[in-house]
Every structure is written in structure tokens, then in C-alpha cells.
């Protein structure tokens, strides 16, 4: 019998990931490794890892990786790409990382149209540190720092960072996807490949935001977490293409 899903060469084999059961990080890692293989850029890929649950993504991704200080992934990615334009550069970041402590780096690298791809994992909390409020936390969502629910008066509103950067002329491609089901996973992979191709074609900045389950901090089963993305999280953060400035095929 023939194996229908051969191992992605840019994912390390025979390592157990440290992610919780049902966590979206593992799916996104797999999609990235499949996409760089299919686009034939794996050998020149360098992934900037964040502070956050994905801090040791280099143990799983079989591509070169570099660690960044919390939130500064897009600054590191800027330096890498400017010094070595031949590299294929990904900045992998959580929502706390990219949209709170790293907001300045995120906004200005996108506005400058730096030619790399940011992958934003939106799980509506700070996962690694125990489920504190993130900029993306929903109103009335309970977290360890909003035990009675986020309120706009005290904490402001959920931050739509990808919608913000999508307005910048330097951004070639921006899309929001989810990974809560087979069809959603297929769409997420297509979006990643669009963003990666925009970088390969030298078109500028690209970003893919992924609505990603964090069952442990949401205090849900993995299946409930999937449903919560459909019923609640994606209502605040609708899926779809937010910017597409790629030249139209003629």
C-alpha cells in the first residue's frame, strides 16, 4: 500500500511537540512546512520565532530559525531580508507578541513594505504565560487578568491589527483564516501560499492571521474550541482577504 500523506520534509520527524492537545500551532507549523516545500523555498527559508507558545518552533520546523525578543520579530525579519534579500523570511508571532508589545515594529515594517511574511496566531489570549488578556481578547471574554470579562471601559476593544496594516500601501497581501476543520485548514494553506508567493515575487509585505484554538486557556475541549471560533471569534474577526495588491494577471 502507498502512503498518501508523505512526511513534509521541512517538519522534523519523530519529535513530540510540547503543544497542548488540539492546539492550532501544530497545524500551522505543518502548513508552513508543506507550503515552503511546494514553493521550493525551504532551503533558503529562515523563520523568526517569537516569545510565546511557539518559542521553540525550531524544534519542529526543519528550516533555519532565529529567536527574537518578545514582539520584535518583524524588526529581526526586516534586518534579515535587507541584509540577505535571497532568503525567504517568515516572522511567526502570537497576538500578544505581534499586536501588543511589538505593535510599533509590526506597524512600521508593514508600512515600509518590507518583503517578508508575518504569520499571526490569533488565539485571543496570551497562551504561554497562562491565558492573560491579549489585545485580541473579546469583550466579556474571561481571562486570568479579566476574571469577570473584558470591558471596553477598562480594557478598550479587541484590536484588529491585520485590518489596520491591510490599509498600508506597502502590504501586498493580507488574509484572515482559521484552522478549525478540514476545509478551513485547506483555505489556510492556500492563503499562506498566496502570501509566500507575494514575497517570492518581491511584491512587499504579506501577513496571514490565523484564528487558532487554545483549548486549555479557553477552558474548552478541542471540539468546543473549534465551535467557538465559528460561533464567536470569527464574528469579531471575520475571515477573508483583507488586502490584495498583487498585480492582476492579464
Amino acid at each position: 500500500m502507498k502512503l498518501k500523506n508523505p512526511w513534509p520534509i521541512y517538519f522534523k520527524k519523530d519529535v513530540e511537540t510540547h503543544y497542548c492537545p488540539g492546539c492550532g500551532h501544530g497545524i500551522v507549523h505543518r502548513l508552513i512546512s508543506e507550503a515552503v516545500e511546494e514553493l521550493d523555498v525551504g532551503k533558503r527559508t529562515i523563520c523568526v520565532n517569537p516569545a510565546g507558545c511557539a518559542v521553540i518552533a525550531y524544534n519542529y520546523l526543519n528550516v533555519d530559525c532565529i529567536e527574537s525578543a518578545h514582539g520584535r520579530g518583524t524588526a529581526v525579519a526586516t534586518g534579515l531580508k535587507r541584509a540577505r534579500p535571497d532568503l525567504f523570511v517568515i516572522s511567526y508571532q502570537g497576538d500578544g507578541d505581534l499586536a501588543a508589545i511589538g505593535t510599533a515594529e509590526t506597524i512600521h515594517s508593514a508600512n515600509r513594505g518590507e518583503c517578508f511574511t508575518a504569520v499571526l496566531i490569533n488565539n485571543a489570549v496570551y497562551g504561554m504565560t497562562g491565558g492573560q488578556m491579549a489585545p485580541t481578547t473579546l469583550l466579556s471574554q474571561k481571562t486570568t487578568t479579566t476574571p469577570t470579562g473584558r470591558t471596553s471601559g477598562n480594557d478598550g476593544y479587541p484590536l484588529h491589527i491585520t485590518d489596520v496594516v491591510a490599509t498600508f500601501k506597502g502590504v501586498a497581501y493580507a488574509e484572515r483564516v482559521a484552522v478549525n476543520g478540514p476545509a478551513a485548514v485547506q483555505r489556510a494553506k492556500k492563503a499562506l501560499k498566496n502570501a509566500f508567493q507575494a514575497q517570492i515575487d518581491g511584491l512587499g509585505y504579506s501577513i496571514i492571521e490565523v484564528l487558532s484554538p487554545c483549548p486549555v486557556n479557553w477552558k474548552m475541549s478541542p471540539i468546543e474550541a473549534w465551535k467557538w471560533i465559528d460561533d464567536v471569534l470569527s464574528k469579531e474577526f471575520p475571515l477573508g482577504v483583507l488586502a490584495d495588491r498583487r498585480p492582476k494577471a492579464v
Binding site: M1, K4, W7, E16, P21, G22, V179, P182, V185, S221
Partner: protein, 72 residues
Amino acid sequence: MSKTKNKVVIRTEYCKGCGLCAAVCKKGVLQTSENLNKQGYYYMEPAEGAECTGCMSCTLVCPDLAIEVYSE
């Protein structure tokens, strides 16, 4: 038309028992084992007699690359 035969294999030591594969399998092929793996999770196993169609839905959603699907 001859029917293709498919087989699903769980890499049990890498499975975390999240159950997402079983939730998307329309054929009820995957069930939770009564045994723990060395990570301490009740891993998944193919159910006796259930027929895998090779649709690959389970492999798409598995966060731990713990599923292999074979076909003839």
C-alpha cells in the same frame, strides 16, 4: 468499478487524544483506545471493521502529524 482499499495508521506515541480526527471522520473509523501512550494520552486507534475511504480529512486537522493514510 473496483473499490480502492485504504488503511489508516495512528503513530500512537505522537497522538495527544484531542479527538479532532474522530470528529471529522464521517465513517467512524477512529476511536479512543483504552490504553495510554508514553506521553500519558489515550491515543486514537482504528475501529474494528470500519471502512476508511481515504478522504484525508483526519490528516488535515491532526495538530500532531500522528495519522498516516495508505491506499492501494
